[in-house]
Symmetry: C2
Subunit: 359 residues, 2 copies
């Protein structure tokens, strides 16, 4: 068996070994069914049980109120970028968007195809290295949209933004279930699974029932939230394997103590690395202190050649995926739920050695 | 290890054991990368190689001409039902649809939201038990759409319908790569993977370049085929695991001799079962002889109680998924590429015994 390396990929990302081992056991036969997990009909008893357990654990972990639906969709967060305004932003109406990174910008671009977008806050002036605090919300926004964590720029909302609008919509793709969530504050929460929840190809959508009801009926059936809410995400064949893995992840989070406990573990993991960065004379974090992400720690040496040298040596030493996104440069350590603490310790030791070698 | 049962599920369906075993080996580490197949970044070298091999094998197996794109999308065939007319059926224009089952009807319903639909042929008058031959095509159809195999009703087009329109569009979800395809006859071929190609959650789309170019640019970015064609299906994170499995299936099909060889094996498998049905005094096939599907063999005893008894006994005997769809009743044996010949032999033996017991 090949030794697993420390995988800092921003997504698809590291999954818990326990989850992968359980999936491996069920690939040729789910339990004693004699049929592999990918081969079960989505309408059959065995998969329906998998689906129901995933929904139930999701509800339990985030204490999701009864007036919210839990949906498993496809197409990633990028499909929610247009599905949300297609459903909830009629022509002539306005939605507020907080622009804190590339994904928020893409969400804005899709919304502008449908109605008016008011940028209520932005951090583009300093290449998205902070979370804006002085935001100017519209009086009549039909919803306010924000991205809770910015994978590329290493920033994260520390708390839920305080908006007047009743329908807060959040793209939580890169920090969902990494800390407690107060679902009742939101109209819609959505997240591609491939960072904290599972493999790519399944999108978790948590949506308030009144929104589901109010959506239009003259758009394609697959693009109406009611279609999926009314059919338990099985209007057509859902991504069954992705839902299965997501359920295993939920079980794994529960076994680790739930969202509060996992949140503390994540704060500790990122905290160690930030503490080292703050004491290092070689490496510097790129995000403003109070805007730092617990999920994606971005840092540079200030010298692009030295960054490249560090990345190359880190790969040789068994650290995978530390290269930063081209729009920030430098390095990025993604420390999602499944990333192990000893990997953070090992990285810090490696960085210390590298720093020492620079004299 | 639990013994695998004969899985006649209509989809998600049986996958080749060799494919499942290879996936199992790579779940915790893809080759010697130390990172599991689901955990690799879609932009990384390892996954890009997986993607490129899948595309290349797909092109090789179906001899896909250079002016066609091979895309891996999400949302199933149900999403193609609306994406096609949204792209290619402007208001006031007309598309021809052949209505041979439930899925074709759903495709029609979505197309009607965009432009005019002319039903050029239908077999609804006899509950879709045949493929219509006398079709009346429009002079000015922008495309003609049909469903090559009807999972629920057990019917299949034996040959490509001879239409005047230059843009033939086919939903091949339930028989793609089960026999040779002449791609050059089509404008678009699409198929949910979960029958012959892999797990649910990935949709194969083979589309002619002129169509990609002619699509509108004022619809959501994710719903433009050019977005996916221009970005090698990686505009956003694709369903990486599904693409990986699809690549393994392509390799498996190639090792079995390619589409012509697999087509013969499928004809033999279904042929055995049909031959028995034609000689049985208890069981009867539900589809007209010349319209019979090589993929889904539908049959009844003519007595609903006896059907229920047969299904119940078949399950106890280790045959899974033989219950027919509620709109046809009776039984359905889905015999996709990965379904083994010995499973067909075992089913026939079991049916013979059941028939004998009825005296």
């Amino acid at each position: 068996m090949t030794k697993r390396v420390y995988n800092f990929s921003a997504g698809p990302a590291v999954l818990p070994v326990e989850v992968l081992e359980e999936a491996r056991e069920n690939l040729l036969s789910l339990g004693d069914t004699g049929v592999g997990i990918m081969e079960h009909s989505h309408r059959g008893k065995a998969f329906v049980a998998v689906y129901e357990e995933a929904v139930s654990l999701c509800r339990e972990l985030a204490a999701i109120p009864d007036n919210y639906h839990v949906l498993f969709l496809q197409g990633g967060a990028s499909s929610q970028f247009f599905m949300l305004p297609m459903n909830f932003l009629p022509k002539e109406s306005t939605a507020d968007y907080l622009v804190t990174g590339s994904w928020a910008k893409k969400a804005v671009a899709e919304a502008q195809r449908f109605g008016n977008v008011h940028v209520a806050g932005s951090s583009q002036d300093r290449n998205f290295c902070y979370i804006p605090s002085d935001c100017s919300y519209s009086d009549d926004a039909v919803y306010t949209h924000y991205t809770s964590n910015n994978t590329i720029f290493g920033t994260q909302f520390a708390t839920v933004p305080d908006v007047a609008c009743e329908t807060l919509v959040c793209d939580m793709s890169s920090d969902i279930f990494s800390r407690p969530i107060d679902v009742s504050k939101y109209g819609v929460i959505y997240a591609g699974a491939q960072k904290n929840l599972g493999p790519s190809g399944v999108t978790l959508v948590i949506i308030r029932d009144d929104l589901v009801q109010q959506g239009p009926t003259d758009i394609p059936t697959m693009l109406q939230y009611r279609t999926h809410a009314d059919n338990d995400s099985m209007f057509n064949t859902p991504p069954t394997f992705g839902i299965y893995i997501m359920g295993l992840i939920f079980k794994w989070i529960k076994a680790r103590g739930g969202l509060a406990a996992v949140g503390e573990q994540n704060r500790d993991k990122a905290g160690k690395l930030y503490e080292y960065l703050d004491h290092s004379r070689l490496f510097n974090g790129t995000a403003d202190l109070e805007s730092r992400s617990q999920m994606n720690v971005t840092f540079v040496t200030g010298d692009a050649d030295l960054d490249a040298q560090f990345i190359s040596q880190s790969e040789a030493a068994g650290f995978s995926g530390l290269k930063g996104h081209r729009s920030v440069g430098g390095m990025r350590a993604s420390l999602y739920n499944a990333f192990p603490t000893d990997g953070v310790d090992a990285l810090i030791e490696f960085m210390k050695r590298f720093e020492a070698e620079q004299g």
